[in-house]
Amino acid sequence: MEHPNDLILQMHIDGELDEEARQRLQAHLTHCATCRERLRGWELLSQTIQASAPPEEAFSRSGIFWARLAGKLPQKPPSPWPWAPYLPPILLGLAAICLDVLLTLAFGLSTLAWLGFLPSFGSTFYHWLEGSPFKSLFSLFIPQGIPGPWSQLIASPGTMGMVLALVFFGGGLLVVTVLYLSWALCWTRLDRSAQKGGG
């Protein structure tokens, strides 16, 4: 029988020969001292390489390795959409801006109505009230609950529009301020957590 090549001998050492090939090789090795010697040479090389692997003690200890690593890991795995944490402040800010625009518009329109450039906001409101369930409540409140000159003033449709606009504007301004403040708080908290994560 022909001598097996080096590749076959190496595959044998690596445990990669199939059963049939392994038996054929074994049969050859029993009567071929040359190939036994060659096989021994490759086994020796394999052992020499394996012995050159650094022992675990050569590396930094597990605790030190982890301490160094943990400091560099981002706190959470990256979010599927990186802007997600910024969504609440952005939405709050947008809501405040929209409200602000609406309020300015409402105040401007009612001022124009009060000056007589537009049909009175107050009288439009009054007409709406006449057909609504609030009518009885409103008529009960205005003539009796407020003293003479004030009730007259408020009852005049033009002034009514002005007063309603002021109330609307004042209350709205409060809402806008609260929204802006929450927006600012959200934003600075994000900023602080980003600094903590980065440092």
């Binding site: 190496q10 394999s46 050159s52 597990s62």
Partner: protein, 180 residues
């Protein structure tokens, strides 16, 4: 009756992917030595192997949420380790172009631990091999991977694994015969 023996690797992977650092620490503990040894085998420097291993686990932490286990976690880790180490080798070549010195890098002080005459000769000879042959050899001899596993890690055909191993061993034999 089955005893409850801590979480399985699959559970640890899921927990780590969801951001659980404790679970990730256990995975690091399991695979740290293998990653370090492989990186050392490719780079021949303890210091660089530590840096590469750190980089590998950061990549794993970031990659876990998208990790779909098609093979074993070990094979995925070996692949990242080999690629990261080869990137480091490439950077080394960019820093010292046309410099033969990198075949026998100067030992760092802590590396004197490893300098046992014959073993250091073997390590130097391994470093003198082309990096793709070296990767196959290290995965086989240091990590005891089968040819099939090496093929999966390096993403090369089985026949290429065999020829690279054969080349690496023949070349190593020559190099060691020259030095002894």
């Amino acid at each position: 009756m089955s005893e409850r023996e801590g979480p399985t690797e699959r559970e640890l992977i899921q927990a780590a992917a969801a951001g659980n650092m404790g679970a990730f620490a256990q995975l690091v503990q399991t695979y740290r030595a293998r990653v370090l040894r492989t990186a050392y085998g490719l780079l021949g420097s303890l210091e660089e192997a530590e840096d590469v291993a750190q980089e590998v686990f950061i990549k794993v932490w970031k990659g876990l949420p998208n990790y779909r286990p098609s093979g074993s976690l070990a094979n995925w880790l070996y692949r990242i380790t080999v690629n990261t180490a080869i990137d480091t080798l490439r950077k080394r070549h960019e820093t010292f172009p046309l410099d033969g010195q990198e075949l026998d890098p100067q030992p760092h002080p802590e590396e004197t631990v490893l300098r046992h005459d014959r073993q250091s000769q073997v390590r130097a000879a391994i470093q003198a091999l082309p990096s793709n042959a070296r990767a196959a050899l290290i995965l086989r001899e240091y990590e005891q991977l089968s040819y099939k596993e090496i093929a999966a890690v390096l993403q090369i055909p089985l026949g290429t694994v065999m020829s690279r191993l054969n080349y690496a061993r023949n070349r190593l034999k020559e190099l060691l015969e020259e030095t002894s």
